[in-house]
Symmetry: C2
Subunit: 214 residues, 2 copies
């Protein structure tokens, strides 16, 4: 397997955790989102990923894009340990938590969006920081309500073993801390993220542990 990754990409981070939890080894190919005007925009990479986004996973001749689709694929082809619970309703809860982050928090704050706010929109650093915090804090507060309000929440987002939801939560909280979002008032989010982040597969997937870390 080959993973095209950028150390700080939240989406690549999710897939790295999944690969680690399932005990899968892979070649790491760094795609630097800032160097060379963005290596993800170069023709060779866009042949793999027409939307110019990391991660991309190559497995068994298949070229797979979109982190959640890649993780579902890994779950179907290497079911152990499971990253989704057993019943449809439980699986729906875990997927909803994951999508809440992947659709409604993360896309508003990734690099290309912050760049567009700067140019052409001319939003200054303070305005961009407020934008970032608005979406990430609002999104994580909603997530806190979902987690704190459910008896299904355990050491992890769903029970005591990591699921797809935790694979999305840990990179999002890492990102939020890096950009100095205020995580007061979301103790469940912080507790779960810290618990999971200490597990070996999460540590190995951490941005600082990647070959292209700066």
């Amino acid at each position: 397997m080959r993973l095209y990754s950028y150390f700080r990409s939240s989406a690549a981070y999710r897939v790295r955790i999944a690969l680690g939890l399932k005990g899968l080894s892979y070649d790491y190919l760094a795609v630097h989102l800032l160097k060379d005007g963005g290596q993800q925009l170069q023709p060779d990479f866009r042949r793999l990923s027409p939307d110019a986004l990391v991660p991309v996973l190559e497995d068994d001749g298949h070229v797979l894009t979109q982190s959640l689709a890649i993780i579902e694929y890994l779950e179907e082809t290497r079911p152990e340990p499971a990253l989704l619970p057993a019943t449809p309703a439980e699986r729906a809860r875990v997927r909803a938590l994951a999508l809440n982050i992947a659709c409604d928090i993360h896309p508003l704050n990734n690099l290309r969006v912050l760049k567009y706010l700067k140019n052409p929109l001319g939003i200054d650093q303070q305005g961009r920081d407020e934008w970032y915090r608005h979406w990430v804090e609002g999104g994580l507060v909603a997530l806190e309500r979902m987690l704190a309000g459910s008896p299904a929440t355990g050491l992890c987002c769903h029970g005591d073993q990591p699921t797809l939801a935790d694979l999305c939560l840990v990179p999002q909280v890492y990102n939020a801390r890096r950009l100095k979002a205020n995580l007061d008032g979301m103790p469940t989010v912080v507790r779960i993220a810290d618990h999971c982040a200490a597990l070996p597969a999460f540590q190995a997937a951490h941005p600082d542990a990647q070959p292209d870390a700066e």
Copy 2:
């Protein structure tokens, strides 16, 4: 089953199509995103949906949020007709196409984001229209490359029967046309969206056909 929906919500539109394709009947509960300061923000609705987003599906005592999680749940509990293909790699392709829309196009352009651009950021109508078109046109052009470049593409995004990808594509193209995005240069996207939109389940799910249509 009860569906909390807003006629113009792309995410609710996706779920309405899924329910229709699977032949499931449901009660329609309208949540008006603009009236009363946003009915989705009212306490009763936020108890169901802490992130204040439609759609919400109630089924068999379960309260389900996030359109793609709801559709995966319907697929697991009512497998026929299938909205995902048979093999893991094919399923990954369909999910990636769907997530491309659900994560990387739609969230940048929904109502709450356009409202934030207006206030507090002070972006005028022209700037907001350019923002909208930038993300939707760029995203759909990438999708065009994925679709036109693959032998797996048929009358629909994957083969000749609608899948999860088409459930996301049709609402996104409807939305793009409504906001006058330029769809030149994406003939495959337009061809597939028009083919699917003419199918009965897609027609029944159309915003104009909903009880709360204006």
